[in-house]
């Protein structure tokens, strides 16, 4: 199990189930998962294809709700919230980073960065300053007026990371964040994650890639919708 620490729990699964009913069959994509994410954690989730990683990520990201069990975000049970309230939780507490970057093509970098705050009615001078600051931080200070298609994949992913940080989320949720990047760019992005950590940023990554998982503190292995094992990468020296 996870090692106990004194850092506060910011996300917690309590016996979470997610079942898909397919005609006669019931697919148990998640079948009783319990886990905790503490502030400052760097957690990776791994598992074979079909083991339930995406399902878990969707619930972690409040894009989906568990069929049974409870999910707490920042101490609040969000497993029964309606669509509206879940949207609010996403907008305030979670920063998404996607495999295919998912910037909005017709918007400039600055406008993309402002999207999360716009939906909370917080667009203005402050949001602009924040966007400038974060763009600087991810190394794209001069690119605010560029369109996504004028940037390389690595640069786009940096913008996406900055966007995920715009709302000061409880945790970042990265879904194969480096899956579309070459090895050297992958390293740059993972280095960027490392530079965020001293500020207390919490990161959860879902990945197939052992090299990516090895950079995290812990790896949670899923198998058939259940937690198979927890691995402390620091103790094991990167081995699994």
């Amino acid at each position: 199990m996870q090692q106990p620490t004194d850092r506060p729990v910011i996300a917690e699964f309590v016996d979470v189930h997610r079942h898909y009913v397919m005609g006669e069959n019931v697919v148990r994509a998640l079948d009783g998962v319990s886990m905790q994410v503490r502030k400052g954690d760097y957690l990776s989730i791994m598992g074979r294809s079909g083991s339930g990683k995406s399902t878990m990520l969707n619930i972690l990201g409040c894009l989906d709700r568990p069929t049974a069990g409870r999910y707490h975000v920042g101490g609040r049970d969000v497993s029964q919230l309606d669509d509206n309230a879940l949207s609010d939780v996403r907008g305030r507490e979670i920063g998404f980073i996607f495999q295919s970057f998912n910037l909005i093509p017709q918007l400039t970098v600055l406008e993309n960065l402002e999207v999360p705050l716009f939906y909370q009615g917080r667009v203005g001078r402050e949001s602009r300053e924040k966007a400038e600051h974060l763009a600087e931080r991810v190394g794209l200070g001069g690119r605010l007026e560029h369109r996504p298609n004028e940037l390389s994949g690595g640069q786009q992913q940096r913008v996406a990371i900055a966007r995920a940080l715009m709302n000061d989320p409880l945790f970042l949720l990265a879904d194969e964040a480096t899956g579309n990047l070459d090895t050297s760019t992958e390293k740059e992005i993972l280095d960027l994650f490392d530079t965020l950590r001293p500020d207390g940023v919490t990161i959860v990554v879902v990945t197939h890639n052992p090299n990516v998982a090895a950079r995290s503190d812990h790896t949670l292995w899923l198998k058939d919708g259940q937690v198979e094992s927890w691995i402390d990468n620091r103790a094991a020296g990167g081995a699994q």
Partner: protein
């Protein structure tokens, strides 16, 4: 709040700009719908205005009975080269009308085509032989000098009153009052007055009242007789009265009055078909009805074109929503609520059709100008029509955008994010 809305509108414009051609083609339906409606309303309004003015100029409480030449049959035309063709209203009929409708004012009118000359200036025009009541019945006013009097009638005086335009032609520099003019080749008439300029439409004789000269009924009869050679057919025609104008005391009495007149005149003139009864009020009402019909048809055309335009917008918005499923997923993941997505696509649809409406309004205001310029047809663009057309076009976009926006908002965020 307003800043946010502006942002949404700007975003909508940006998204529409991604597909410039598609967006412009989509707006074409709305554009031409709005343009054609504004243009047609302007033309209808303008044309109607002219006709209404013509009828109003005839006097809304008047009933006009005119002598018209009956259609010639084979038999009459062959035998007629020598005989005199007699038709139309008779002198005593005016008195009978007065007796039947004692409240009304009855005016007899005789008309002759004659040359009127003053020195070097000559003009062929219509000489109107009439009575004192002609002036109030036609609602005209004296500009200079005086109108014809009962005394002129009794004395069969050789006096005349000139229409404003005729006065200008014959007396470009002097005051005509007190001067003499030659009418025809042998009759001298003293000008006793000039009428105010009216600018009314030409009457059935093809001449406007401003171009006529007016003489006492009695004098015209004595000077010119009852038999006239029609210059176009070269035949002698005998017409006692060319017109009887009947002014009724109020608009309410026009219809019953007209019916009395029709009943009275039918036995004598009906079979011959040699008179024509005009009731300006009826024509006005008929015109009003026609205008209402026209507007109704227009409203239907407008609705159809807006419907078609709206369906076009809905079609494109559905395509947009499908294309941008991924964007919707992203926005939802970043905290957008359903209502934000609805708002985004509604605004986009509204902007799309409002743009069409705007260009349509511009075009719709240019077309009437072109019509006025090239066809000399009066047109009137009502600002309120323009505003209405624009608002409706914007509303159409919003209404037809509802379903696509609803579809967008109700996508499952997970599915939407997976969409390629």
């Amino acid at each position: 709040m307003i800043a946010d809305m502006l942002r949404v509108v700007r975003l909508g414009l940006k998204s529409l700009m991604v597909h410039k051609l598609r967006s412009s083609l989509t707006t074409a339906g709305i554009l031409f719908g709005v343009a054609s409606v504004i243009a047609m309303l302007a033309v209808g309004e303008g044309a109607g205005e002219e006709t209404l003015k013509r009828f109003r100029d005839m006097g809304v409480t008047n009933v006009l009975i005119r002598s018209v030449k009956p259609e010639e049959t084979q038999q009459t035309s062959s035998s007629s080269m020598t005989s005199i063709l007699g038709y139309g209203l008779f002198y005593p009929e005016a008195d009978r009308i007065q007796n039947l409708l004692p409240q009304s004012t009855v005016v007899r009118v005789r008309e002759f085509q004659r040359g009127v000359m003053r020195g070097e200036n000559w003009r062929s025009t219509v000489i109107v032989g009439t009575e004192v009541a002609f002036l109030p019945v036609t609602n005209m006013k004296v500009q200079e000098g005086r109108w014809l009097t009962e005394l002129d009638m009794q004395k069969q005086a050789n006096v005349c009153v000139l229409g404003a335009s005729l006065g200008k032609i014959l007396f470009p520099l002097e005051n005509p009052v007190g001067q003499t003019v030659m009418v025809g080749i042998e009759d001298r008439f003293t000008v006793v007055g000039v009428l105010e300029y009216q600018g009314r439409a030409a009457g059935p004789n093809g001449t406007t009242l401003d171009e006529c000269a007016f003489v006492p009924m009695s004098s015209s009869r004595r000077r010119f007789g009852d038999t006239i050679r029609n210059p176009s057919t070269n035949r002698w025609e005998a017409v006692e009265l060319h017109e009887i104008k009947v002014k009724l005391p109020s608009p309410e009495e026009v219809e019953p009055g007209a019916n009395v007149l029709r009943t009275m005149l039918q036995p004598v003139h009906g079979p011959k078909g040699d008179i024509e009864i005009t009731v300006p009020l009826e024509l006005l009402r008929e015109q009003e009805r026609q205008r209402q019909m026209f507007n109704l048809v227009l409203a239907i055309i407008a609705s159809i074109s807006l419907l078609v335009g709206g369906i076009g917008i809905m079609n494109v918005m559905l395509a947009t929503v499908t294309e941008r499923t991924r964007e919707i997923g992203i926005r939802r993941a970043l905290g957008a609520k359903k209502r934000h997505i609805v708002q985004q696509f509604l605004v986009e649809a509204g902007v799309l059709s409002a743009l069409g409406g705007l260009v349509g309004v511009g075009l719709g205001m240019l077309v009437p100008q072109a019509i006025t310029h090239f066809f000399k047809q009066n047109t009137i663009v009502e600002p309120y029509h323009v505003l209405l057309a624009f608002c409706i076009s914007a509303a159409v976009g919003v209404v037809f955008g509802i379903y696509p926006a609803w579809r967008a908002a109700n996508m499952d965020p997970v599915e939407a994010l997976r969409h390629e």
